[in-house]
């Protein structure tokens, strides 16, 4: 994917986002309600810059190194790649480290 030698991942994400944008717009326009009868609401994300760019970049480094983001990690474990359990365990550790050092990090 990151070598721009295959369209596959871009096709997957592109298709999902295109359908997603249309669907979310329709939900908002027609104020569609959910199963419980409540209006489906979307919460704007906290306005910031550094945390998204820096956090995203660190995530991207890990994504390209391990080959998986959190969802595919567990899918791989189910598929039989038990070594992904090491990756997943360290993802949990990484999450903890973020929580622990959070106040000291730029936002």
């Amino acid at each position: 994917m990151f070598r721009f030698q295959a369209f596959h991942m871009y096709g997957i994400i592109g298709t999902a986002v295109t359908i997603g944008i249309i669907g979310v717009a329709l939900i908002k326009k027609f104020k569609i309600r959910d199963f419980h009868g409540n209006p489906i609401t979307f919460y704007p994300k906290e306005k910031s810059f550094t945390r998204y760019l820096l956090g995203g970049t660190i995530f991207g480094l890990g994504w390209a190194l391990s080959g998986a983001c959190p969802g595919p990690m567990v899918v791989s474990i189910g598929y039989g790649y038990l070594t992904m359990a090491v990756v997943f365990l360290f993802a949990i550790i990484g999450t903890f480290l973020y929580g622990y050092f959070r106040d000291k990090l730029p936002n």
Binding site: P44, K45, Y52, G62, I92, G99
Partner: protein
């Protein structure tokens, strides 16, 4: 018919499925964001005592842990019933690039050099797995989401913070692929 199910599913089908998952979750009053499970697991492990981020009622997030378990089961079903011995389809250029890094052409879904059991037993192999996982975990919490939360859900809602996060994902991914992987392998 059997071949259609067992061959790699087309990108547009996967994309439709992913968007459907997002809408399915929205319909039941939730949202599609997988990395918060990592935070929930930390909270369930009692790490709320060590860091405020994990000090919340994690039981409200059990629905997402169920989603996680479903994903594991999905992987199992895919392997047992839906897969064949056809290896993952990557381009010839990628195969050539990977060969320069010492990784052989695909024989299955994941490269054996990185994900076979032997990988854990070498220091370098273990560190690749551990550091990769560490950065995914740290980065996703720092950015407040991973590809499902930001690239799929966030971009669908036209959230600018999500676009910044996705740009970050790519900066990191490209930096690792073109600058760092060649140094490691």
């Amino acid at each position: 018919m059997n071949e259609v199910i067992t061959e790699t599913w087309s990108w547009w089908f996967s994309g439709i499925m992913i968007a459907s998952i997002m809408f399915f979750l929205l319909y039941f009053g939730q949202s599609f964001g997988f990395s918060s499970n990592l935070r929930t697991i930390c909270a369930a492990a009692g790490l709320g005592k060590k860091a405020k981020l994990f000090d919340f009622n994690w039981k409200t997030q059990i629905w997402n842990l169920v989603f996680l378990i479903g994903a594991v089961i999905g992987g199992f079903i895919a392997k047992q019933f839906l897969s064949t011995d056809i290896p993952v389809q990557i381009s010839n250029e990628t195969i050539a690039d990977l060969a320069k890094l010492g990784i052989g052409a695909p024989t299955s879904l994941q490269p054996r050099e990185l994900f076979s059991f032997d990988a854990i037993l070498s220091v370098k192999g273990f560190l690749v797995l551990a550091m990769g996982g560490l950065m995914v975990g740290f980065g996703s919490r720092y950015a407040g989401g991973c590809t499902s939360g930001h690239a799929i859900s966030g971009l669908s809602d036209l959230q600018l913070p999500s676009l910044i996060a996705v740009i970050g994902f790519f900066i990191g991914g490209l930096a690792m692929t073109f600058f760092i992987l060649p140094l490691i392998f």
